[in-house]
């Protein structure tokens, strides 16, 4: 069979290629593709989120969010007297395609700003394009930090705005002494766990009380790992799991936890990538009490949040549609961009980039977030416990807003670095040597 296959590749006829191409076209034709119509009296806003492939599960909602925000802004009369127009492209969960589509948005569609990306790989893939063509990217997802770029604004949480406060909570309120750091095997969990490990050790946790475990993307057989966690937790010390498990792998993980009878009262799991959207696919009754750390929860009761949820459900015509943390990040980022554009009365990227630091915009949880010189924002941190209805109940929050650190203070390579695009005009300023260009990951 295999020999037959190689033979066929070698002697592939023209007709063969035609059939092959037909197959490909058939596959690609299915991806939604919206050609942009040129109109001079509008400001174009690029939306770079995967609408097909593995990441569509998370990113489609963010595309809808931006369309919703643009719609709301246009109802208020648009920006600078012009209507906003969304240009939606589909990078199909394909990292190199992200760069191509970003280039297309900037050069062909001439967008003023792009909202997009979810995974760190996709962000790294578009970075050179945004630098070369000098445009603006708003990145709405919690990430591993260790980055501050002139053209990118990070509205999601840096590790010190999510991971560190969550660990603090477990240490103080749950008296956790033993830690399992479980994650999917890629850059965000690896860096976050490196930061957490250094942080835990600085708090006096011994090496034998930390277990680190990585699994491949989309891992679905969690029996061994859950049994290992159970075993690790039976050493007589209070144990918790810090989970950076990503995307689809969470559902089988939580199902296995529930089935093997690990309850939150015995071994709580605090997750950094599980929100309202992910829980929509599981029966949460066996998971009551497991935790998540975010900067926003749908269940937080503020007038702004209630209004947002009501309008969002009306816009999507789905009274059950949930909201989540990256959506709030887009909400803040979008409003900051509008304010900056109105301040400088122009959509010119250079002017807007310079105007953005210092801009304040209300978040949905009752505070006002501010864009910092390192292009990260201030956010409150909440710890929520999963409830039986798939929502989170906030059990703890930081007293005020936490400023995002671009460079982690816990890691040797980055503790002296800061990002400052206002005074120093540098993303990795070394405060020891007072020079731009320190080392980073």
């Amino acid at each position: 069979m295999l020999a037959q296959l190689t033979h066929d590749i070698a002697t592939l006829s023209r007709r063969g290629w035609l059939a092959a191409a037909a197959g490909l076209v058939l596959g690609l034709a299915s991806s939604p593709f919206s050609p942009a119509k040129a109109a001079d009296d509008t400001i174009k806003v690029g939306v770079l989120h995967s609408l097909s492939g593995t990441m569509a599960i998370s990113e489609t909602t963010l595309k809808d969010t931006i369309l919703f925000l643009i719609d709301e802004q246009n109802k208020k009369g648009g920006v600078l007297g012009k209507k906003l127009e969304a240009v939606v492209v589909d990078p199909a969960s394909n990292w190199p395609l992200f760069a191509e589509k970003a280039r297309e948005l900037i050069t062909k569609d001439k967008v003023a700003v792009v909202f997009g990306c979810w995974t760190s790989v996709s962000r790294k893939s578009v970075l050179p394009v945004f630098k070369e063509l000098n445009n603006i990217l708003f990145y709405p997802v919690q990430y591993e930090g260790e980055e501050s770029e002139r053209n990118v604004f990070y509205t999601g949480a840096a590790p010190n705005q999510q991971a560190i406060p969550a660990v603090d909570y477990l240490m103080k309120d749950e008296k956790v002494k033993r830690w399992v750091l479980a994650g999917t095997d890629y850059v965000y969990p690896r860096t976050t766990n490196k930061i957490l490990e250094a942080y835990l050790k600085s708090k006096g946790v011994k090496q034998e009380d930390i277990m680190i475990n990585y699994t491949p993307f989309g891992h679905s057989d969690w029996q061994t790992i859950v049994a290992d966690i159970k075993k690790f937790g039976s050493a007589g010390k209070k144990t918790a799991v810090v989970s950076t498990i990503n995307g689809d792998a969470n559902v089988p993980f939580y199902k296995e936890l529930g089935n093997q009878g690990i309850k939150a009262t015995d071994i709580p799991v605090v997750a950094f990538s599980v929100g309202e959207e992910e829980l929509a696919g599981i029966d949460t009754k066996p998971l009551v009490g497991h935790l998540a750390a975010w900067n926003y929860f749908e269940s937080i009761k503020t007038p702004a949040n209630e209004k947002f949820i009501k309008e969002w459900q009306a816009y999507t015509k789905n009274p059950k549609r949930v909201t989540n943390d990256p959506m709030e990040a887009h909400y803040i980022g979008f409003n900051m961009w509008v304010k900056a554009v109105e301040k400088v009365k122009s959509t010119d990227p250079d002017k807007v980039i310079d105007a953005l630091p210092g801009i304040e915009a209300p978040n949905l949880t009752g505070g006002v977030s501010k864009m910092l010189p390192n292009h990260h924002i201030t956010k409150p941190v909440f710890i929520g416990e999963i409830k039986g209805n798939g929502q989170f109940d906030v059990v703890w929050k930081t007293p005020g807003l936490v400023a995002g650190d671009a460079w982690s203070k816990e890691l040797d390579g980055s503790k002296d670095l800061i990002g400052d695009w206002v005074g120093k005009k540098c993303g990795n300023w070394n405060t020891k040597t007072n020079k731009c260009g320190g080392q980073g990951s």
Binding site: D221, Q223, V251
Partner: protein, 537 residues
């Protein structure tokens, strides 16, 4: 003398009555106050309320605390009134037990955090120690074993003396041992006895308890604890090999289930079907649709939802399989590369179609009650869903084998795949058989989807994660041989699960792939190669 005594007796009875008359309202007042604290929405007040209510001895204590655990207790922050929503939907006032028509508008359910949940569990444990249901008594004793609360000792000992049920008696003995081990004023002998009781329990919870009891014990007891820990650990190490073997069987059964349809389309027919995973996905979505209909129309049938979904998933996926064969694949027989690309394109079309119809997010497929939870066998935990999937897989395998062996269609399928022209000369409608064979393989993939919906995400990407594994199993087991697929799947499953604890999940998977590549170099036709003329065809 006697009359005097009678007088005194009367006086005592009277005073007791009087006291209880006066005391009762006073006592009810404190109970009401305690219940009222639930309305403050402060975790510390809720904790006080739980403790006060649990120790009150009021008949409403048990309903209140179990309602709290199940998120059925709600409170009105203004009037400080607290309500229980009973299982049948009726609402009562928690302080008085009086029926209430409906909840006030601003009533919200009383919030808990993990610390409070532990308090609730401990409180429920001591409240249900004397429950008439033996299973509840066992559960209560277990939670006392975990909390080893000294205050529960008299109740546990009282219950132990009266207990007749064997399992409950054992649970009470263990709970009592746990309390004594942590009691600071217990004698060394009592503690040593307690250690040996806990040692004979021998599971991970016993290990956890002994480890945490280790420090600040008298030397003799500390020594016994160290010995007990070592013996439990060596016992558990032995069981962990059994556990790995079980996990391997379970993973193997999932692999087999996903690959068995492919063993027909790829193994028997020789069609490289990249859309195989999407047939699995369609089966999973069929289950979702069946459950949705059942939830809205016939909620009583929920436990049968999977039984209803199995034939439907077979028909849906099988029907689409026949359609694909008739419209695309029959034009591409003998051209593996074109088939590969066409079916790959098709898989993208199907994924996007499902994404458009059902949305990109995961869909919730519930586990029926008989597929939830786990039971203990010796020192290993076996989850019901994995066990049922293993049984189901073997049943599908046997039925398929019997079908190929004993039915006319099976005979025709074997004839066509062995020698198409000869079969045609014998009057077999080969193109009809092709369509049916492909439909059969796809239908079985659909059935696999029903089972996989119980352990994995139901999302448009479901199929993608199984396609590589399925091809691996079929190629490794030997193309065209169902028994090879069976042995291949279980070999890979068990090898993976024995590698995983040593090498980690990521490296384990890589190691398996490398081993297969090496194996295929040595035996290109897989474990069980077909012999004879069929190979040449």
């Amino acid at each position: 003398m006697f009359g005097h005594f009678l007088d005194r007796f009367r006086a005592i009875v009277l005073s007791v009555l009087l006291i209880s008359c006066f005391a009762l309202p006073a006592f009810a007042g404190t109970f009401e106050d305690a219940v009222g604290k639930f309305a403050n929405d402060e975790f510390s007040d809720t904790e006080e309320a739980i403790e006060a209510v649990a120790s009150s001895g009021n008949p409403l204590a048990f309903p209140i605390i179990s309602a709290l655990q199940e998120e059925r207790l709600s409170a009105d922050p203004e009037s400080k009134k607290v309500f229980i929503t009973q299982a049948d939907g009726k609402i009562i006032d928690a302080a008085t037990g009086a029926a209430v028509d409906k909840l006030p508008d601003n009533a919200a359910s009383v919030r808990l955090n993990n610390r409070l949940r532990r308090t609730v569990e401990a409180a429920l444990g001591s409240l249900t120690l004397l429950s008439p249901d033996p299973a509840k008594r066992v559960a209560a004793a277990q939670s006392v074993f975990k909390s080893h609360d000294e205050n529960a000792l008299p109740v546990v000992e009282g219950a132990l003396a009266k207990e007749t049920d064997k399992a409950a008696k054992e649970a009470f003995t263990e709970a009592r041992a746990a309390i004594i081990l942590f009691k600071s004023d217990a004698s060394d002998n009592d503690k040593l006895e307690a250690v040996s009781v806990i040692k004979s329990r021998g599971d991970q919870e016993a290990l956890a308890l002994l480890t945490s009891a280790g420090p600040d014990q008298p030397p003799l007891v500390a020594q016994a604890i160290t010995g007990a820990i070592a013996s439990i650990q060596s016992n558990l190490a032995m069981w962990s090999a059994v556990q790995n073997a079980w996990y391997g069987l379970s993973l193997g059964s999932v692999l087999l289930l996903a690959a068995i349809g492919l063993a027909i389309t790829f193994g028997v027919m020789g069609v490289i079907n990249m859309a195989h995973g999407e047939m699995v996905m369609l089966g999973a979505y069929t289950t979702f649709v069946v459950q949705e209909v059942i939830r809205t129309r016939y909620p009583g049938l929920f436990d049968y939802s999977l039984l209803i979904a199995v034939p439907l998933a077979f028909l849906v996926a099988g029907g689409i399989g026949v359609l694909i064969e008739r419209s695309i694949i029959r034009f591409l027989y003998g051209r593996p590369l074109e088939t590969l690309l066409a079916t790959w394109g098709l898989s993208l079309v199907l994924q996007q179609a499902v994404r458009t119809v059902f949305g990109p997010t995961n869909r919730e497929v519930g586990n029926p009650s008989w597929m939830s939870g786990a039971f203990e066998l010796g020192q290993i935990t076996i989850t019901y869903n994995r066990l049922w999937i293993l049984c189901f897989t073997l049943a599908v395998f046997v039925i398929l084998l019997a079908m190929l062996r004993f039915t006319t269609l099976g005979l025709e399928m074997r004839a066509v795949t062995q020698n198409r022209r000869m079969a045609a000369s014998m009057g077999i409608a080969t193109s009809r058989v092709d369509a049916l064979t492909f439909g059969l393989g796809s239908g079985i993939a659909g059935i696999a989807g029903v089972a996989l919906s119980q352990i994995d995400n139901v999302s448009p990407n479901l199929g993608q994660s199984y396609i590589i594994d399925s091809f691996m199993v079929v190629v490794f087991g030997g193309v065209g041989n169902l028994w090879g697929t069976l042995v291949g799947a279980f070999t890979l499953g068990i090898a993976n699960k024995f590698l995983e604890p040593v090498a980690g999940a990521v490296l384990g998977k890589i190691a398996i792939l490398v081993l297969i590549i090496l194996f295929i170099q040595k035996r290109p036709r897989g474990l069980f190669a077909l012999k004879g003329r069929a190979v040449e065809a």
